[in-house]
């Protein structure tokens, strides 16, 4: 069993989320936003600036001309894309070690998160009123709790597997029963600690809620989570079925053909972004 003090300590010991990135992200969502203010913040951080330029010039955006400075990147890509990029750049390192409570190969969880981010953003058309600008980020961070819970899940893998395989528990309920916390609880606590907006915290907290939390962002992240697993990301762990998926599929009235169409529509973009943000090193 994990204790509250273990949890608090684990969150405090995490390397801090890039503060310049956070500041830039807050600005993007505030009324004070201007391109100039944004580029002023980003330029203060040499590595952030370099990364943004590198990605702006990558195959992901396929711009006809080389982009040499951050201000041009901001005007060409737009603040919404920059918001997603800031999360992407700042989050990758948290998934750089093998998280073997949840993955067999290093980087599988990261690939899954990238897939959920891309798919959630692309499915925005399913909702009438949704803040599209944070869907990618909400998807990318929905499983952030796993970076802490991984070692505990690994330690108790036998008991968790037993509950899932023999007692028909959802994985999330098995986490709660054996460890006292779920990766959703912990994810929400981390994101709160990092001062993320409430809707992003909610996607981490409620994407496995079997009553289907009433927020379009949570619904889209839950659906994208299901689709990413269905494609096969993170499928090495084959006990990830959750009731929340049934709820969201029912909510959107999704049929076999819809699932196939959604997979077909999204997979190229998912594979592109995975290729651009590689972590997997499967060796031999």
């Amino acid at each position: 069993m994990m204790l509250m003090k273990d949890l608090v300590q684990a969150i405090e010991f995490l390397p801090a989320f890039n503060q310049n990135a956070l500041k830039a992200m807050e600005l993007i969502r505030s009324d004070n936003y201007t391109n100039k203010r944004l580029s002023d913040i980003i330029k203060l951080d040499a590595s952030l600036s370099a990364n943004i330029l590198k990605i702006s010039n990558s195959a992901l955006y396929a711009k006809p001309k080389q982009i040499y400075d951050v201000s041009t990147a901001i005007s060409l890509l737009g603040k919404q894309q920059i918001y997603s990029l800031l999360t992407l750049i700042s989050t990758q390192s948290y998934f750089a070690d093998l998280l073997d409570g949840y993955e067999v190969y290093k980087g599988e969880l990261w690939e899954h998160n990238l897939a959920v981010a891309v798919i959630a953003e692309n499915l925005a058309y399913l909702e009438k009123n949704v803040d599209k600008s944070i869907l990618f980020t909400a998807g990318l961070l929905h499983d952030i709790g796993k970076i802490i819970l991984s070692i505990w899940v690994k330690k108790e893998a036998n008991r968790i597997d037993e509950l899932v395989d023999k007692e028909n528990f959802d994985f999330i309920d098995a986490e709660k029963t054996v460890l006292g916390f779920t990766h959703s609880d912990i994810g929400a606590a981390i994101l709160k600690h990092w001062n993320f907006p409430e809707q992003i915290i909610n996607s981490a907290k409620y994407h496995h809620d079997d009553k289907l939390f009433n927020d379009p962002i949570v619904r889209l992240v839950t659906l994208a989570d299901f689709l990413s697993f269905t494609i096969g990301f993170l499928a090495q762990k084959d006990n990830m079925y959750m009731k929340s998926y049934d709820q969201v599929l029912k909510y959107y009235n999704i049929k076999t053909k819809d699932v196939e169409k959604m997979i077909a529509d999204n997979i190229d973009k998912v594979l592109n972004i995975i290729n651009e943000f590689k972590l997997i090193d499967r060796g031999q």
């Binding site: 067999v104 190969y105 599988e108 299901f226 697993f229 269905t230 494609i231 096969g232 990301f233 993170l234 499928a235 090495q236 762990k237 084959d238 990830m240 079925y241 998926y245 049934d246 599929l249 076999t256 053909k257 699932v259 196939e260 169409k261 997979i263 077909a264 529509d265 997979i267 190229d268 594979l271 499967r282 060796g283 031999q284």
Partner: protein, 159 residues
């Protein structure tokens, strides 16, 4: 020394290098179609996702997403290297329902049926298969021997 060549999702690789191991990871509802010619020691592997390309206007950008477009290309590539239809060993692995406890969508089964139908129409016999269930599978094909190893987090076995 073995050299690993990764077949990613919606991808196909062919090899005649005896040191090569073709590997594809984390098959859920996707299926690995593995072809091997034991006389020529040439192998091919495709990681296919969906049964039918008619849902996608731009399907030709990557034919290996779809059974109906990718499967013929896989065979043609082996024929080009001199493999004879009669000597090719055909194996199918994957097609499970990892996320779909209630068997609601059954994409794995639909993939499997699409492949079977196409092979049957072309008089190709399926020699080995490890299909369905709810487990995920990683597949390795050893080009020197044609040996196929299937594994996941819990087990590993030869097909």
């Amino acid at each position: 020394m073995n050299k690993t060549t990764v077949v990613s999702i919606a991808d196909m690789k062919i090899s005649s290098n005896p040191d090569d191991v073709l590997v594809t990871y984390s098959l859920g509802s996707c299926i690995a179609i593995v072809l091997y010619d034991p006389y020529k020691k040439i192998g091919g592997m495709m990681h296919v996702m969906l049964p039918d390309s008619s849902i996608d206007k731009n399907a030709n950008i990557n034919p290996f997403k779809y059974v109906d477009l990718g499967l013929p290309i896989l065979f043609k590539n082996l024929f080009k290297l001199g493999c004879k239809r009669g000597s090719i060993v055909t194996s199918l692995i994957g097609g499970s329902n990892v996320m779909d406890k209630n068997n609601y969508f059954n994409i794995g089964e639909r993939n499997y049926q699409a492949i079977r139908k196409m092979l049957w129409r072309n008089n190709v016999i399926i020699n080995n298969e490890d299909i369905g269930g709810s487990k995920s599978r990683t597949v390795r094909l050893y080009i020197d021997s044609g040996k196929i190893i299937v594994s996941n987090a819990k087990e590993e076995y030869e097909l």
